[in-house]
């Protein structure tokens, strides 16, 4: 069958959700009204980063009027996890991080719950805590999970029981040691990143209801209602059909609302007060302390090239500070392992990527999933090496960057991309060759470039399903399980369905909220995978529906299906020039030509997509046929200046260019590029801070500052190239995370260009920069 082109693919149609969002009609979890039966809950959190729980006395809390239940982990030893089942719902034998939930209270008001929390008495025996992943990876480090060997784990993650190492991924490709001996230039360094927070403006909120029948309903701000249902159902031994997760719009995710955060606590609390919905809403301070973070990383990088600048060898060790529980984070170390070189063609690589338990907040998915962390060091060391061989950083990257069909570090053949085009466009937009004057006295200005790659990091076979369902008037419901977290996923789904079915975009509605009771399956809204994977499923579902329609019409008219198409909601025949509006026909079918009997019936299209071609990697060498489905690549260039009197940076311009395969909705891509550039810039200044007792000391917007409207670059130049892939809808792939991956190293490279100082540790705070400037006697100008 030919695919009709309604011209919707590649068109910047209006977002499906925008009218709700500009009128205050958009519903988030906290906006749902539950009536007078609603109860409120709060969590009792550990004041220590590492301690044994000796005793919990809940009697005083239970005695407080208005308290309906107090729940601890005493009788609840189930663990949760996506890849490694290591996380209790309430800590019961030991706490492993400051702020870990040890109990929960349910009360008739939030005020009473606050008071009840103070009355729960917990006796701890404090244990030595360990925060640094390199120290924690040593054989003699105190163990954070002594039972690591007994935890269930998927077959592609390799914990090392008896240590704090929850995943160890290895690459052994070629002979790095010998290759280094032949190199004309070698650069090496150690780079560090602190944990940072996702900072969605909507804090984590959930409401759980357990009926007397055992039916459980959970309303959650979630990027992954199905994964959430799966983990909680398994952990609490609830049949999947008895646990219903309803996920309304998400007020910012960035990975922080993937998997399970505290939603299982809400379910357990609701089980204690059957028949009452129980709300668990995190405060802003808890959002900083009690949710997952981007993992910290210490990376040791050594890289060498020949005299012409061709990369020859790399030796890499990544120590990810995984935090207290690594149920999700283990796969970050794995993803960082099989993509360890960054977007470069390097023949000889020895790499070890470790996820290490630390007594810090749980490290988990965050926009980029390991890639911002490794590119921070990689993209600086490439500049360093380029300088060693006297080569321009842009040229150095053009020579060495990965190309279509290259055999990359994991042994896989590179899927179609054009990174050189991205580099060229970014360099041109920033006027790479032009030396700019500072905008004022006592300032220095510089430019930097950084490139990136990222593959969707997932199990080998995450699936997407979609259903399209016509209404009587030929308007369409699109049902998906992928979530709208601001990126425009629903819009792209509607666009794809409308295009395939030849109906006006305005006639398509995406069925919301997501509800595991009705919505088709989607693994998770993560990994920049929806346009690609869910897009494929929606396309297949729409094609299925289209096929049903055309078969009915062809049959009724006694024509060949190949001669029919659908345009503007009307089936037309090229041959007979007959027309049949979809209105009514898509539900009631069509009468036969002689009006004796009918054909067709309500049209419901179904489609699914699951990658079936990803292979395992050898555990000793990390080599395999196809480590991942594909890669997205891109380049960013930064033009900035530094104030020599204060050490403050100002990013003046960012050029940001990615290869998106095919732009389904160009303006939505641009909004990702712009938002990502600012998120990436902000990430260069962000850090969670801890005191010596492991307590988070900046859990507020006052002291954990994110970019404001006054901090943005004067200009963000966004652009994309289109090199289609084989397995995406019209060749499209994701770009949601990529757009912030290399912003921080691009800034660091520009800063080096400006003042000749390398900063190997994030954040790039003004006081750190100023002190370095003073040391280099750059501040004494008058």
């Amino acid at each position: 069958m030919t695919i009709t082109e309604s011209g919707l693919i590649g068109k910047s149609v209006q977002r499906t959700d925008v009218m709700d969002k500009v009128t205050g009609c958009a519903v988030f979890v906290d906006d749902i009204q539950f009536g007078p039966k609603l109860l409120h809950s709060r969590l009792v959190r550990s004041p220590y980063p590492h301690a044994l729980i000796k005793k919990i006395d809940t009697s005083k809390a239970e005695a407080l009027p208005g308290v309906r239940a107090v729940v601890t982990g005493k009788d609840l030893t189930a663990r949760l996890g996506l890849y490694l089942i290591d996380r209790p719902i309430f800590a019961y034998d030991r706490v492993r991080v400051y702020g870990e939930p040890v109990a929960g209270v349910v009360a008739t008001s939030e005020d009473i719950a606050v008071e009840a929390v103070k009355l729960v008495e917990v006796e701890y025996e404090v244990l030595p805590a360990i925060y640094d992943p390199v120290e924690s990876a040593q054989p003699d480090a105190p163990l954070i999970h002594p039972d690591l060997g007994s935890y269930s784990v998927v077959n592609f993650i390799f914990p090392e029981p008896g240590t704090n190492i929850s995943e160890h991924f290895k690459i052994r490709k070629g002979d790095a040691e010998s290759a280094f001996a032949e190199c004309a230039a070698v650069a090496e360094g150690r780079f560090r990143l602190p944990p940072i927070e996702h900072v969605p403006i909507e804090t984590h909120t959930s409401v759980a209801l357990c009926e007397k029948t055992g039916q459980v309903t959970l309303w959650a701000s979630s990027q992954s209602p199905f994964a959430m249902r799966d983990m909680i159902a398994q952990g609490l031994d609830i049949p999947h059909n008895k646990l219903r997760v309803i996920a309304p719009l998400v007020g910012g995710g960035f990975g922080g609302k993937a998997g399970v955060t505290m939603e299982a606590c809400a379910v357990v609390l609701a089980q204690a007060v059957e028949g009452h919905p129980v709300k668990l809403r995190l405060t802003r301070e808890e959002e900083f302390v009690g949710t997952s973070t981007r993992q910290s990383l210490i990376s040791d990088i050594k890289v060498g090239c020949d005299k012409d600048g061709n990369l020859q060898a790399m030796e890499l060790t990544y120590y990810f500070g995984g935090g207290a529980y690594n149920d999700y984070g283990v796969n970050i170390a794995r993803a960082a392992g099989y993509s360890c070189t960054g977007p470069y063609d390097v023949p000889n690589v020895k790499a070890d990527s470790l996820c290490v338990y630390t007594n810090t907040p749980v490290g988990s998915a965050m926009r980029g999933f390991g890639m911002p962390e490794i590119h921070w060091g990689l993209e600086q060391i490439m500049d360093h090496l380029a300088e060693e061989v006297g080569m321009d950083p842009v040229l150095f990257r053009r020579i060495n960057c990965v190309r279509t069909d290259d055999e990359i570090v994991s042994g896989m053949k590179m899927t179609p991309i054009d990174l050189e085009a991205c580099i060229d466009k970014a360099a041109k937009a920033i006027q790479w060759e032009k030396k700019e004057e500072p905008t004022g006295p006592n300032k220095k200005r510089g430019k930097g470039i950084a490139i990136m790659w990222k593959a969707p990091a997932m199990p080998p076979n995450p699936g997407s399903a979609a259903v399209v369902r016509f209404n009587e008037d030929a308007t369409l419901q699109v049902e998906v399980g992928g979530q709208e977290i601001g990126q425009g996923a629903f819009t792209v789904a509607a666009q794809i369905a409308a295009d395939v079915l030849g109906i006006p975009y305005e006639n398509v509605t995406v069925s919301t909220p997501l509800d595991t009771k009705y919505s088709p399956y989607e693994w998770q809204t993560v990994a920049s995978r929806l346009t690609w994977s869910m897009g494929n499923a929606v396309k297949a579902a729409a094609e299925d529906a289209r096929c049903q329609i055309l078969e009915t019409v062809a049959d009724a008219w006694d024509e060949d299906i190949e001669d029919l198409t659908i345009k503007d909601g009307v089936v037309i025949s090229f041959k007979s020039e007959r027309e049949q509006p979809l209105d009514k026909m898509v539900i009631y079918g069509m009468p036969n030509d002689d009006f004796e009997g009918w054909k067709g019936g309500p049209v419901v299209g179904r489609g699914h997509f699951m990658p079936t071609y990803v292979t395992n990697l050898d555990p000793e060498t990390g080599q395999g046929t196809r480590a991942v489905v594909h890669y997205t690549v891109g380049a960013q260039a930064v033009d900035l200046e530094v104030d020599l009197e204060t050490g403050q940076l100002e990013v003046l311009n960012i050029a940001s260019v990615y290869d998106v395969g095919r732009a389904i909705n160009p303006d939505l891509i641009m909004t990702q590029i712009e938002g990502g550039a600012v998120h990436g810039m902000s990430s260069a200044y962000e850090a969670m801070k801890f005191n010596e007792d492991g307590v988070v000391i900046n859990p507020s917007f006052v002291d954990y500052r994110i970019a404001t409207i006054a901090d943005i670059p004067r200009k963000i130049h966004g652009d994309y190239v289109e090199t289609p892939i084989d397995d995406g809808p019209w060749g499209a792939r994701g770009v949601g995370e990529h757009v912030m991956v290399q912003t921080a190293p691009a800034i660091a490279n520009a800063l080096y260009d400006a003042v000749g100082i390398r900063f190997s540790d994030l954040p790039l705070s003004a006081d750190k920069i100023y002190m370095a400037l003073e040391e280099k006697e750059l501040t004494q100008k008058d």
Binding site: R42, R45, T646, T708, A766, D767
Partner: protein
């Protein structure tokens, strides 16, 4: 441990007359707290999960929101005048521009619609943005008690972080500023972690004006926040500048001296050393600019 959701329980009362305030202050003692905009107070009550049993709202008392200005008598601001009212007032912008500049740097616009000058003073934060301007314009606080009014220079009001010289039976009624020196040029130099909206890592308010009595022909007033237990003036530096014929070297020396006087502590916003150096750099930048525009 962490801030609570919502505000802790308390009783809200709105004062209609000064007498009512005095009566309640006497009856309730330390269990009563006076409030105006509440922007600092509510945040503290959430953070500490505790607060007074009673909040007495005094912003509606007669005169509390009034702005009076005369070229010869100076400026009097009711304690509950908001920071946005200060910023928008033409005479204040003309005669006391540093007050407006400082007001514009506090928090954000929405907050400044509620935040009051009196609240900023009584909160007694070492980093109070209004403080340097209050210091350099020689603000006098008008404190009302059953015995009548008394006036106190603002510098004497701040005794330590969060600590003020307000007597148990008093409230801050108004803030008076004498007419500014003839020909004065002023500026508030603030360094935060973001371009706008942050607390001050260091803030320096500065006023320069012609003074034929001095060898310099000029006199400076310098107020600094965030780098000592209370905001402070640096009279030694001001005198040094007045007594020397100005040059780049003299300005540099003055800035060094200001740095030496500052006594910041290591905090989450910046290291103590960086804060000291920023006292020097902002002071120097200010002196150069203001000297330049007075020359």
């Amino acid at each position: 441990m962490l801030a609570r959701p919502g505000l802790p329980d308390f009783e809200y009362l709105k004062a209609e007359s000064p007498q009512e305030v005095f009566n309640l202050l006497k009856d309730k003692g330390p269990d009563l707290k006076l409030m105006m905009g509440g922007t600092d107070l509510f945040v503290q009550m959430r953070d500490r999960d505790s607060g007074p049993g009673t909040l007495l709202d005094i912003k509606g008392l007669p005169g509390m929101q009034e702005i009076e200005f005369g070229k010869t008598v100076g400026l009097t601001l009711g304690a509950a005048v908001t920071l946005n009212q200060i910023s928008a007032h033409k005479d204040i912008r003309k005669y006391y521009p540093v007050l407006c500049q400082a007001a514009d740097t506090v928090g954000n616009y929405q907050l400044r619609n509620r935040a009051t000058l009196g609240g900023n003073i009584c909160n007694a934060s070492p980093s109070a943005d209004m403080a340097p301007a209050l210091l350099i314009y020689d603000a006098e606080l008008i404190l009302e008690s059953p015995g009548g009014e008394r006036q106190l220079p603002v510098a004497e009001f701040w005794v330590g972080p969060g600590k003020i010289a307000l007597k148990e039976d008093e409230y801050l009624k108004a803030i008076h500023f004498p007419p500014p020196p003839e020909g004065a040029v002023g500026q508030y130099y603030k360094l935060g972690r973001s371009k706008m909206g942050d607390l001050a890592i260091v803030g320096v308010g500065m006023l320069g004006y012609p003074d034929p009595e001095t060898p310099a022909g000029l006199r400076f007033k310098i107020g600094i926040n965030s780098t000592a237990p209370t905001p402070y003036r640096v009279p030694a530096v001001e005198d040094y500048l007045a007594q020397h014929s100005l040059s780049d070297d003299v300005l540099s020396q003055a800035a060094e001296d200001a740095m030496d006087i500052s006594a910041p502590i290591e905090d989450i916003r910046a290291t103590a050393l960086y804060q000291k150096k920023m006292v020097r750099n902002l002071t120097k930048k200010g002196l150069k600019e203001i000297w330049g525009s007075l020359k």
